[in-house]
């Protein structure tokens, strides 16, 4: 077993690297957000990223994948090859079409409200 120094969370490093290397190369595809939602649940993406892609500090290192800023190619490459906390999804487990659909589903998720528009969030951590 190797012992390496990782200054920040590995998943974030990997995501940033992929975003940089594939920036601007995303392509629009004819994919189905509806099918993507089904695949998102059927293939277990929801387990760490929650049903709406909001993720968790406990399971996705706080990474939000709803409306991900990653271009499609970078997104797919990350899912296929990640070697960090997230296990890779290879074609035997998740087809290219399903990945396209999942991407479409994530892009279809609504823009979150601003915290200032949620009165209850105004009450928290009052000092």
């Amino acid at each position: 077993m190797r012992f390496v120094r990782v200054p920040v969370a590995p998943a974030l490093v990997a995501l940033a690297a992929f975003a940089a290397s594939f920036g601007g190369q995303g392509t629009a595809v004819a994919a189905s957000a509806e099918k993507g939602k089904a695949a998102f649940i059927q293939r277990g993406c929801w387990q760490c990223h929650d049903y709406n892609g909001q993720g968790s500090v406990a399971t996705s290192n706080g990474t939000v994948i709803a409306r991900t800023a990653l271009p499609l190619d970078a997104f797919k490459s990350f899912v296929r090859n990640t070697n960090g906390a997230m296990p890779p999804y290879r074609p035997q487990v998740l087809s290219d079409d399903e990945l396209d659909d999942i991407y479409a589903y994530l892009q279809s998720l609504p823009q979150p409200k601003s915290p200032s528009d949620i009165p209850l969030l105004g009450d928290v951590r009052a000092q």
């Binding site: 390496v4 920040v8 387990q47 929650d50 909001q54 500090v57 906390a85 296990p87 969030l121």
Partner: protein
């Protein structure tokens, strides 16, 4: 074994033997029971009846007089009453019937009050939670062998969480005279062996005076840092045997508090010098604050150094509203780290990525090679071998085996002396930068909470925020968060008092949340606090009978379900392995891999709670329904009853 006394008017061994026969044939006069020479004589294979059996079979039985003197268990109650133990949650059992009877009749069921539990794991879990809410230990009784076996996971949690719990287990050592059959199945040479690996101390007293010494001793050991559970096996005969009438004077030793062990003064000065001269010192705390005073001391140290504090949260150590409270990533840039009562130092400065590398995973280090490490930990004074709660070994530069809270006053004074005058401006600037980062962190947290705000099932951020809105004006105590709600309560609620956050289970044995919540709520009830728990589905179902205990004994508690319909950690583990092996996880008809979901059928937790005497409502699916439901439940709890709101939630 018990000391024999020929002058005893009533022999408990003979009485027990007689009682066993009486169970089938009637009662014999113990004075006419079997004699030792008869039992020891070499006998033919076809045994003639001995005197004992003959008496039972031929009649002419006599009832015991019933005037057997003061039972030993009455004296035991006298001993217990000296230690101000308020409650005794327990599942009833024959092996401690003598003490049970003395507690409720002779002792009038006060100090301690017996609380009926439906599982020994629940009873120990209640003791665990009670202590963390009140700072006072309570005791439980368990049945020999099987009862203690039931209790074990909860004892292990208390051990790992450094919580004092007093456990007495009934046992019947005398193989020749204890009742045959079930009571003998439930006896052992040494029941304490079941929990010896994860208790601080155990004993097996053989006389009333021995009991008195050992009970006071076990209380003292349990409440001297490092705290921990303690165990006493209590012989059934000893409970029932009358106090000897031969003039022996029994006494109850006076309890005294031991001063907690402190870090070596030379090491304290060395640590202070490192901290005072560091550019980026970081304070990491886990169970450092044993008392509210500990919180104040930590604030004083942090402000003195203007150093960020990472609260790992096994206790409420440091207010999360304080600008020096920071997330764990500040460790990456630290040049000096002081860890206080950390349960896992290695994993504080290193990490493990479960990525299947070489079939296992990858170790990583988070700190710089030149970073100096300081440790103060009382747990260094008590390490056992078998169970691995001591975690991986971490090399430390200045290691102080000692209690962190007790060491803090001398450390603070040493740091004051060690800070050079020319560094004070630098410290102020450091504090200003941390203050800005703290404010920005809160903004980011709120933005994250807003995502999926309207989602169905309810997001865990919404769950926690809606709950806070209904309790924020009360003197609330978050007694447990079982399952995993992404730490939203710690991130969103202002946690400034020691009872507002009681930490986790210690050993991560699932099934802690419900009983510990009820135990903590019991303590909070008497202190006028409002108790709330975030209760996960899997955790509740290990021993849901504790809900009945709460209703039976009128323990007010608001339990809001985090019902994500799965053993979610295992959901992800099996999925992860399927991915590593390039196989599609078989989810059957569920959402998670087969064997990990709690669905088909969905459990109606609100109906379960109702059947156990709680006010309950649910299932809440629409987040818009959550606030009104919790508001109604809060009113019920304020009236003195427990209430449960069943909420269908997102996974984490």
């Amino acid at each position: 074994m018990l000391k024999k006394n020929s002058s005893m008017k009533f022999n408990r061994r003979k009485f027990l033997a007689a009682a066993a026969v009486a169970g089938t044939t009637g009662v014999v006069n113990p004075a006419r029971a079997a004699t030792a020479p008869e039992a020891q004589r070499r006998l033919p294979s076809a045994l003639p009846p001995n005197a004992h059996v003959a008496a039972a079979e031929t009649g002419t039985l006599q009832m015991p007089s019933g005037d057997n003197g003061t039972p030993g268990s009455d004296f035991m109650v006298d001993v217990i009453k000296t230690l101000d133990i308020k409650y005794l949650p327990a599942n009833p059992a024959a092996s401690y019937r003598g003490l049970h009877e003395s507690l409720i009749d002779y002792g009038k069921n006060t100090m301690p009050e017996f609380l009926t539990c439906m599982h020994e794991e629940s009873a120990v879990g209640m003791c665990h939670g009670y202590y963390k809410a009140t700072g006072k230990p309570i005791m439980t009784l368990v049945h020999g062998v099987v009862g203690l076996q039931h209790a074990t996971m909860a004892v292990y949690n208390a051990w790992c969480d450094r919580v004092p719990v007093l456990i007495i287990g009934g046992n019947d050592l005398d193989a020749a005279h204890r009742p045959p059959g079930v009571p003998t199945f439930h006896s052992a040479q040494d029941i304490n062996a079941i929990v010896r690996d994860y208790t601080k101390w155990d004993d097996n007293p053989v006389s009333p005076q021995h009991f008195a010494q050992s009970f006071v001793r076990m209380y003292k050991i349990a409440t001297t840092p490092p705290y921990g559970p303690v165990m006493m096996a209590l012989d059934g005969g000893l409970q029932n045997e009358p106090i000897r009438g031969d003039g022996e004077k029994l006494y109850i030793p006076k309890f005294f508090v031991s001063a907690p062990p402190q870090g070596d003064l030379g090491a304290v000065k060395e640590a202070a010098s490192l901290l005072a001269n560091a550019e980026r010192p970081v304070i990491v705390v886990d169970r450092a604050a044993r008392t509210p005073e500990g919180v104040k001391l930590l604030v004083e140290l942090a402000e003195l150094l203007q150093a960020p504090v990472v609260d790992q949260g096994n206790r409420m150590n440091f207010p999360n509203t304080h600008y020096l409270n920071r997330p764990a990533n500040v460790i990456n840039q630290a040049d000096v780290i002081i860890g206080m009562e950390l349960s896992d130092y290695w994993n504080t400065v290193n990490g493990f990525v479960d990525n299947g590398y070489e079939g296992i995973g990858q170790n990583i280090t988070k700190m710089k090679p030149e970073t100096k490490l300081i440790s103060i930990s009382s747990v260094d004074l008590l390490t056992k071998s078998n169970y691995q709660d001591f975690q991986r070994f971490q090399s430390i530069d200045v290691s102080m085996p000692g209690d962190a809270e007790a060491t803090l006053p001398s450390l603070i004074e040493a740091v004051k002396s060690a800070i050079p005058n020319n560094r004070k401006d630098a410290l102020t600037k450091r504090g200003d930068a941390i203050r800005q980062a703290h404010a920005k962190g809160l903004d980011n947290t709120k933005q994250a909470a807003a995502i999926a705000w309207e989602a169905n099932p309810v997001s865990t951020a919404r769950l926690v925020t809606e709950l806070y809105a209904q309790i924020k004006d009360l003197d609330w105590s978050l007694v447990s968060t079982s399952g995993n709600t992404s730490n939203w309560a710690n991130r969103l609620w202002p946690i400034e008092k020691h009872y507002q956050w009681l930490g986790w289970s210690g050993g991560y044995g699932v099934g802690y949340g419900a009983p510990a919540s009820v135990g903590a709520a019991l303590g909070n009830r008497d202190l006028g606090r409002f108790s709330v728990s975030i209760q996960s589905d899997g955790d509740l179902m290990y021993a849901p009978g504790v809900l009945w205990t709460a209703a039976r004994h009128k323990i007010p508690l608001l339990a809001v379900m985090h019902n994500n319909r799965g053993y979610h950690q295992e959901v992800m583990h099996v999925q992860r392995l399927s991915n590593f092996r390039n196989r599609v996880a078989n989810i059957g008809n569920d959402l998670g891999p087969i064997g990990t979901s709690i669905m088909n059928p969905d459990i109606q937790y609100h109906k379960l709670a109702e059947s156990l005497g709680w006010w309950a409502t649910g299932p809440i699916v629409d987040p818009g329904d959550l606030g009104p439901a919790i508001r109604e439940a809060v009113a019920v709890v304020k009236s003195g009853q427990p209430a449960l709101v069943n909420v269908m939630t997102q996974p984490r």
